[in-house]
């Protein structure tokens, strides 16, 4: 059975800290791995990773995928209170000519001043 495991499930840090969120997966028909940020309701897209070893960056956020070891990490440097959210990892798999997402449970990040 395909699965995505995120760790830690929750994390409390102080502003300015650097955090690393982990995502491991066991899937068939892997297409891509995606990271989302969920603050209240709608998950918002952060990164999509398809190729192993290539880092994606956006400001203070970065992510990398290791397809051999089946994991991805999301790094956030110089954290701010606005980074407080649930971070979801998902893999996209193909079937019947379309793509679906299987999500992990998420990591709840709390950044305190």
């Amino acid at each position: 059975e395909d699965k995505v495991v995120q760790s830690p499930l929750s994390l409390v840090v102080h502003e300015g800290d650097t955090v690393t969120l982990n995502c491991s997966y066991e899937v068939t028909n892997f297409r891509s791995l995606l990271w989302y940020k969920q603050e209240k309701k709608a998950p918002t897209f952060l990164f999509m990773l398809t190729s192993s070893g290539i880092e994606k960056k956006s400001g203070r956020l970065s992510s990398i995928l290791d397809k051999k070891e089946l994991f991805s990490i999301l790094n956030i440097t110089a954290t701010q209170t606005g980074d407080s959210a649930i971070y979801l990892c998902a893999f996209a798999y193909s079937g019947a000519g379309s793509y679906q997402l299987t999500f992990g449970k998420g990591t709840k990040l709390s950044v305190i001043p």
């Binding site: 897209f45 379309s98 793509y99 997402l101 999500f103 449970k105």
Partner: protein, 111 residues
């Protein structure tokens, strides 16, 4: 450019009742997927609609059904509601592929 619009935002239903949730996809998108997110869990795939047909389905019972209209909007219907159906229901639209845009969801509470 309007994103994905879901209605209603909140809903309270009694066990055994039926509910219909609605989704208007982002402009230019033709595929609508529905996800259920229980408290403390990640979203779980319910089904996906493309060209007015259910293209793929997750591990959900037949009480969950849907529809897609010619304008690409979609409905999710749940019959014989259980307490366990209480969750945030998310709609995501895309243009065939992975570029999902999520709506803000409908919070369903079954009492």
């Amino acid at each position: 450019d309007a994103g994905v619009t879901q209605s209603p935002t909140h809903l309270i239903k009694t066990r055994g009742q039926q509910v219909t949730l609605r989704c208007s996809p982002k402009s230019g998108h033709d595929t609508v997927s529905w996800y259920q997110q229980a408290l403390g869990q990640g979203p779980q795939f319910i089904f996906q609609y493309y060209e007015e047909e259910e293209r793929q389905r997750g591990n959900f019972p037949d009480r969950f059904s849907g529809h897609q209209f010619p304008n690409y909007s979609s409905e999710l219907n749940v019959n014989a509601l259980w307490l366990g159906d209480s969750a945030l229901y998310l709609c995501a639209s895309s243009l065939g592929g992975i570029g999902y845009t999520f709506g803000s969801g409908t919070r369903l509470t079954v009492v």
